[in-house]
């Protein structure tokens, strides 16, 4: 009886204890569950494995700084544009081995707040592995690493740990051109100095670059809402950044709004935009964009915001019962002057601000290190033209394999049949370009005439052939502007290809190269701004007197195929005045 009573007492006491401390860990002698210890050990393991890839960035003068993350053994590192801005072209970067390295700016994306820099002096830098930020789910654990409050005088990064609070967030511009689209929101502590540092998934993959926080009235410290630029967005821009350019984001040339019934509809459109030429009008409902369904204005902005200027994206829109699918090349969001201009943030109250490094005093920018001076070339529109030259050399490396076209003086005469069986003859001479096809003759004079849309609706095939000849024979020497752009999917849906831009007068061409073999796949030639391009695609190999010619030349414009010209013979004829 007595015993029972004591047991009852014990049970009651335990019941009370359990009720009062419902969710407290089981209190069996303070023993920690092995699973907790295992999770802790895993966390520690991941953090220490990642720490060597985290960069503490300082301006060469030593005032202020931020964070970054290495992404390749040869020293490419990502950070925020707002960290590198004002830090000059050369910076100092500390790694957790206690070493300080010189680094040079490569490319910048002022709109997306991303910058690519290159650490120098090693080709075996520890680096992070890029993950897939679209697989992140709300509730997933993340690590933020970096140098908040510039605490790490030994460059040992600070690690904070928290969960994903939201995905695909849209953050309005904070008084600048900078906007965060499709970004990751975390409760992982993000503070001033964390800017540009990595956000890692629990498994240790790089999923974002930390750059902003909602601060408002609590001072510039973490208040539970930090934002990271998704690594998937940065992947789309990566080759653009490697080009050494000041890269731009995109616009459709149309604005959208939400209708009463929740549909997202066009409420304004530029009539010189490609979207307009493909039939998009005010009031049309946007069904999907970039293969993602559009259910809100922010979703539309999120989709648009992650792509570089010039990409082609599929757009599906609806008017009454009719549904239209089209592929559109996105226009630039800004003018060159806007991108180059000062974009000092003037944070509006109530909008997230950047966790910027502490203010720097106005000391002159330190001189670049003598040893690395040659790694920076100044040019308008570029953060560092040196890297563009490197990428041009890489991309054009395969061109010499095609043969000596510079020596092919005289008229190039290509003849054969189209896929439809019509015979044709194309003559590309230095003074003009002629085509006889389907019992008609077309001619583009080159000495004085403007580029024409000949044949009509081709986007200017004849002038495009002139551009082709110029490119083959003279390469960059034949054009006013000539640079490596970056990479994009061929025709919006194909494999990623390297893109080189040439400009001559108003005519702008995009040259596409296979990334494995540096093979010329084709080009788009645009006679002037805001008209449909002539799209030329090469395939096959046709050797003729030591030169490689394509076997077929496919020509398209405005989404329609003009013809596929089979090349059966190529002759180089001494040019005769016509």
């Amino acid at each position: 009886m007595r015993l029972l009573e004591r047991q009852c007492h014990g049970l009651v006491w335990l019941c009370m204890a359990a009720t009062m401390t419902l969710a407290v860990l089981p209190q069996t002698g303070w023993a920690v569950d092995p699973a907790v210890l295992a999770a802790e050990a895993k966390r520690i393991g991941v953090a220490s494995r990642l720490a060597p890839s985290v960069v503490a960035i300082f301006s060469r003068g030593g005032q202020g700084g931020g964070s970054g993350v290495l992404i390749s053994p040869d020293g490419y590192a990502l950070t925020n544009f707002h960290v590198t801005r004002g830090a000059g072209t050369f910076m100092k970067c500390g790694l957790n081995n206690g070493q300080l390295y010189d680094a040079v700016i490569v490319g910048i994306d002022p709109t997306g707040d991303v910058a690519l820099v290159k650490l120098l002096g090693r080709d075996d830098f520890p680096h992070a592995v890029l993950g897939d930020s679209d697989t992140l789910r709300v509730g997933d654990w993340t690590f933020a690493m970096g140098n908040p409050f510039l605490l790490a005088t030994d460059f040992q990064p600070t690690v904070t740990y928290g969960i994903v609070s939201g995905v695909h967030r849209y953050q309005y511009p904070a008084g600048t051109i900078l906007e965060y689209t499709d970004c990751i929101q975390v409760d992982t502590s993000i503070n001033p100095g964390n800017s540009g540092g990595p956000l890692f998934s629990a498994a240790g993959q790089l999923v974002g670059i930390n750059g902003r926080g909602s601060f408002e009235k609590r001072g510039r410290v973490n208040s539970g809402a930090g934002y990271a630029i998704s690594i998937n967005q940065i992947k789309l821009f990566m080759d653009h950044l490697r080009s050494g350019r000041v890269v731009d984001h995109a616009t459709l040339g149309a604005t959208v709004t939400t209708r009463e019934d929740g549909a997202v509809v066009v409420d304004g459109i530029l009539d010189d935009s490609e979207a307009f030429r493909r039939g998009l009008r005010e009031g049309d409902e946007i069904v999907s964009f970039g293969k993602r369904p559009v259910r809100s204005v922010n979703q539309f902005k999120n989709i648009l915001g992650i792509y570089p200027k010039g990409w082609k994206l599929p757009l599906v829109f609806r008017r009454d019962q009719s549904r239209t699918e089209t592929l559109l090349r996105l226009r630039g969001l800004h003018r060159a002057s806007e991108l180059a201009g000062p974009s000092k943030p003037k944070p509006k109250p109530g909008r997230p601000g950047q966790p910027k490094r502490p203010a720097r005093s106005k000391t002159p920018v330190a001189k670049p290190p003598e040893k690395y001076k040659h790694l920076h070339i100044k040019k308008s529109g570029f953060a560092n033209y040196y890297f563009n030259q490197q990428e041009q050399n890489r991309t054009l490396a395969g061109m010499s394999r095609l043969g000596d076209f510079a020596g092919a003086s005289g008229a190039w005469v290509l003849a054969g049949k189209t896929a439809a069986g019509e015979t044709y003859q194309l003559t590309v001479a230095e003074t003009g370009v002629g085509l006889s096809w389907k019992q008609k003759a077309y001619f583009q004079e080159l000495k004085s005439a403007e580029p024409l849309d000949e044949p009509k609706g081709s986007g200017g095939l004849l002038y495009a052939m002139h551009m082709w000849r110029t490119f083959l024979a003279q390469r960059d020497k034949g054009f006013g502007e000539f640079y490596y752009l970056g990479s994009e999917p061929l025709d919006g849906v194909g494999d990623r290809v390297d893109v080189v831009i040439s400009e001559l007068g108003n005519v702008r061409c995009r040259w596409y190269f296979d990334r494995k073999e540096a093979r010329l796949l084709g080009f788009d030639s645009q006679r002037q701004e805001d008209v449909d391009e002539c799209e030329v695609r090469f395939s096959g190999d046709n050797q003729s007197s030591g030169r490689h010619w394509p076997r077929t030349i496919l020509v398209r414009s405005a989404g329609k195929v003009l013809a596929s010209f089979g090349v059966e013979s190529v002759t180089i004829r001494a040019e005769t005045a016509k």
Binding site: L22, A23, P26, A38, V138, D140, S165, G224
Partner: protein, 351 residues
Amino acid sequence: MTNRVLTGLLGLTIACVSFPGDVVGQSPVHSTIQRVQQRMVKVFGAGGIRRLHSYSTGFVVSPAGHVATVWSHVLDTEELTVVLADGRKVTAKVLNAEPQLDLAVLELQAEDLDLPSWNLEAESSDAGPGTRVLGFSNMFRVATGDEMVSVLHGVVAAKAPLATRRGAFETSYEGTAFIVDAVTNNPGAGGGVLTTRGGRLLGMIGKELRNAESNTWVNYAVPIAELKQPIQQIIAGQYKARQRDPEETEAKARFRPLEFGIVLVPDVLFRTPAFIDRVQPGSVAAGVGLRPDDLVLFVNGDLVQSCRVFKQRLGRIKSGGVLKLTVRRGDKLVPVELPVPEKPATPGDNK
């Protein structure tokens, strides 16, 4: 281990206990979050000027479309819009409110909603220090359009009365609250929920709360146990809002100003200065020379910022001693001492 078995035996919800499995990457927390987010709404109303946010959060408490939220300036409008978890926009009206609990219940103006909602009857979880929790809210209005509200993680630091630092914190809620280590109480977060990691409802995230003296902020949630009944009564149309009845508070208090012959000015502001309006002739106060328009500054050496605090201080003084007041009269500070009558202790006043 024994405890865990016992927990099961007692029929307590397993989800309330933070299991180690919860710590590692793959866990039921994702489905918990999804389930809770389905029951959250975003409230848009008045504000938008002078850094006053015009948005807050709410949680659905009936399938027919009742939403519990924080009582704030946001609701002070005819055009209240609620954005449901699925992105639908619905207008709403305030059904009733309980300012003392910072609680309001909205009624969505739409038919046949059949929304995923919290079944308050089934929510009876409690938590103490160390409980791992999730906070759900539309803080900073990050989630616009049809986006889901933000989720934070944290730990309950304490379950304690909020009112222990009266005067320092500007809050109307004075009951027990969950204090958490996460920054849950951000602009617009009020009306959000605090849950266990298993998704049991613990409380409603309160307003932003700043300590006026130290400029620090407290993150807290009002326990659902406090809100459950009022919410249910409001929905049933049986609720009578509790008045902040001075008589009621004073009844519990040991002494009232009137017992000394002091009549204060009407307490109309949040912090009405403790001016004496009238002094009853022949009273103790009259005896020591207190006059109308004297401003009471100190009670037994403690600073008194308002009528309310003065009344609270009087309520706590010991019977049979001396009450020392310092009042400001014109430019002068005047100290007075009043004898306190003997009074037997009443139950419930010995906090």
